[in-house]
Amino acid sequence: MSVIDLRTAVHPRLETLALYATGDLPWRLRWRTGSHIKHCGDCDQQVLLFRSATAKLKREAETQTLTGFEAIADWTRLEREMLGNIAVGVAAARCIDNVGRTRSLFSRGAFAAALIALFIAGWATHIPREQTAHLTASLRNLLGLERPTVTGTIVQTTPDGIAVRAQGATLTMMHPRSAVVSFSGASAVEARYVDEETGQVTITNVYGQ
């Protein structure tokens, strides 16, 4: 049989006929091949040969499969083995998962611990103890663990002067940077300086109660 193109009303290829016999052609090519086979006895014969060969092969395959299955007589045992293998596989997968997760958790924890250690070391070497204590006291005050230490009058020095703070208001006596400050009483601070304009010594004081 010669190879003929369908477009020119020639016979289809053998592969096309084999695929047609097994119903594996695309629908358009199947329709065209089917139309040709209706009018072509050779091709129809060839398709029948392909179909019978396929049927024979299927029958032989089924026969061999049935023979293999027949060799397995103990289905219960087979089921147990299969279930056991599945359980082992699942357990192994869980083990692998845990190993990975533990390692990940450990590495993350170690990294965090290293960061914390670095922070503590940096704080200890760079931040004065008084500021640490002040921060701790502030946090304790904030959390209500310790009552606020100062609520009354505060007398203090500031960069620009000496100040007394009471009742929400603040009075600051200003002075130049050259002023020398000292406390001048149980609740008083003084600043002494020379007035640049007059050359006169001036002493300012603030008093708390």
């Binding site: 204590a133 505060i154 929400g168 300012t204 708390g208």
Partner: protein, 379 residues
């Protein structure tokens, strides 16, 4: 946007506040002297005074220049003006002291009052000026005084005057004996920026709970040989940059009854530098040979001028001055100061008086001749 709204809000608050102050026909600052006062106000001007919002408060910068006249019959050696803000009364107040004035009767002299008042917007303004300035005490050159003396100013002014006389005599002596090198050293070699080491202070009056960080320390003594009161032993609790509850035992070694003692305190930081932290006058009736204990219940907190806490390593005390029952005062002499310590910096700090500071400024500006003229005029 939020910032603009906040600024607008502050501006509105400021405007409302200023309008209310103006409508009440009030003044920012009022100067009041009694009719029989030895000083009277000649002129008064508010310099670059400004009001601005600061957070939820109003910050009022007051720069007042007063010109006062000595209307009495005696030269005025010094005076103290009391500065009171109605928002802080009676818990807080301020003062301006002018020692070593030497103002003859009829003469005028300037006094500057530079201050800032921070008051919350929520505080209602009462009647009268926000700030009142009045005379607390005026000391004459015969050591008599005038004024209500509500701030203990008379005692301070008397100490300043006695120190001034002591230092003028000492410097005049150096000048007469041609000890010019020593004189220059006493007057800081005419350097403008030479000043004792500075420190930041905070006084807390509320008693604090004892913390585990507190260390008990022994208070050392810097003794002046001729002092009528000698320090014996002392103790304090130190926690970092705080000194709590310092106390010291004293003995009256004179034959006179002591009325009050001004105890000076020196703190040493962790670098071994000594700072004169200040002094606290306290009333203490002590008979001859009698002993007593001076104590300060509050907390003193120290810091460097930069704001960094100053770690306290040691604490020392010295008797700054003593007031007897007859009203007379004792102050350390120059010999006392020289013999009190071998540390030149501490000795310089102990001997630094307002008058010496003023004379050093004259020496810096006018030289030896100007200093000599000033000493001649006052001595």
């Amino acid at each position: 946007m939020a910032s603009s709204c906040r600024r607008l809000g502050y501006a509105v608050l400021l405007a409302v506040w200023l309008c209310s102050a103006a409508s009440a026909d009030d003044k920012w600052l009022e100067v009041k002297f009694a009719n029989d006062s030895p000083v009277l106000l000649v002129s008064f001007s508010l310099g670059p005074t400004t009001a601005r919002p600061l957070g939820m408060s109003m910050a009022l910068d007051l720069h007042a220049s007063l010109v006062l006249r000595n209307t009495g019959h005696k030269p005025i050696s010094g005076l103290t003006l009391r500065v009171e803000a109605q928002d802080l009364t009676p818990l807080g107040k301020g003062s301006v002291t002018m020692p070593s004035l030497n103002v003859e009767p009829g003469e005028v002299f300037p006094v500057r009052v530079d201050m800032e008042l921070l008051r919350p917007f929520s505080v209602a303004k009462s009647e009268g000026a926000l700030v009142q300035v009045s005379l607390d005490c005026a000391l004459f050159n015969d050591l008599s005084a005038y004024g209500p003396d509500t701030l203990g100013s008379r005692r301070a002014l008397m100490v300043y005057e006695l120190e001034a006389r002591r230092d003028r005599r000492y410097l005049a002596y150096l000048l007469q004996t041609q000890r010019l090198a020593q004189l220059r050293e006493e007057l800081n070699f005419g350097l403008p920026d030479f000043s004792p080491q500075q420190l930041g202070l905070e006084l807390l009056r509320e008693p604090r709970t004892i913390s585990r960080r507190e260390q008990p320390v022994t208070v050392g003594a810097v003794s002046f040989p001729s002092s009528p009161v000698q320090t014996m032993s002392g103790a304090a609790r130190v926690a970092g940059n705080e000194v709590r509850g310092p106390q010291i035992d004293v003995r009256n070694t004179s034959q006179k009854i002591v009325r009050s003692i001004d105890m000076g305190w020196i703190v040493r930081d962790d670098r071994g530098r000594d700072f004169i932290a200040g002094s606290v006058p306290a009333r203490m009736q002590l008979g001859p040979v009698q002993t007593g204990t001076m104590m300060e219940p509050g907390t003193l907190r120290f810091s460097h001028p930069t704001g960094q806490p100053m770690v306290i390593d040691a604490l020392m005390a010295f008797v700054n001055d003593v007031e007897f029952a007859d009203g007379k005062l004792w102050i350390p002499s120059r010999v006392d100061i020289d013999e009190a310590t071998s540390d030149p910096m501490l000795r310089r700090a102990l001997g630094s008086s307002p008058e010496q500071q003023r004379l050093a400024e004259i020496y810096r500006r006018k030289g030896i001749s100007g200093l000599a003229e000033e000493l001649r005029r006052l001595n």
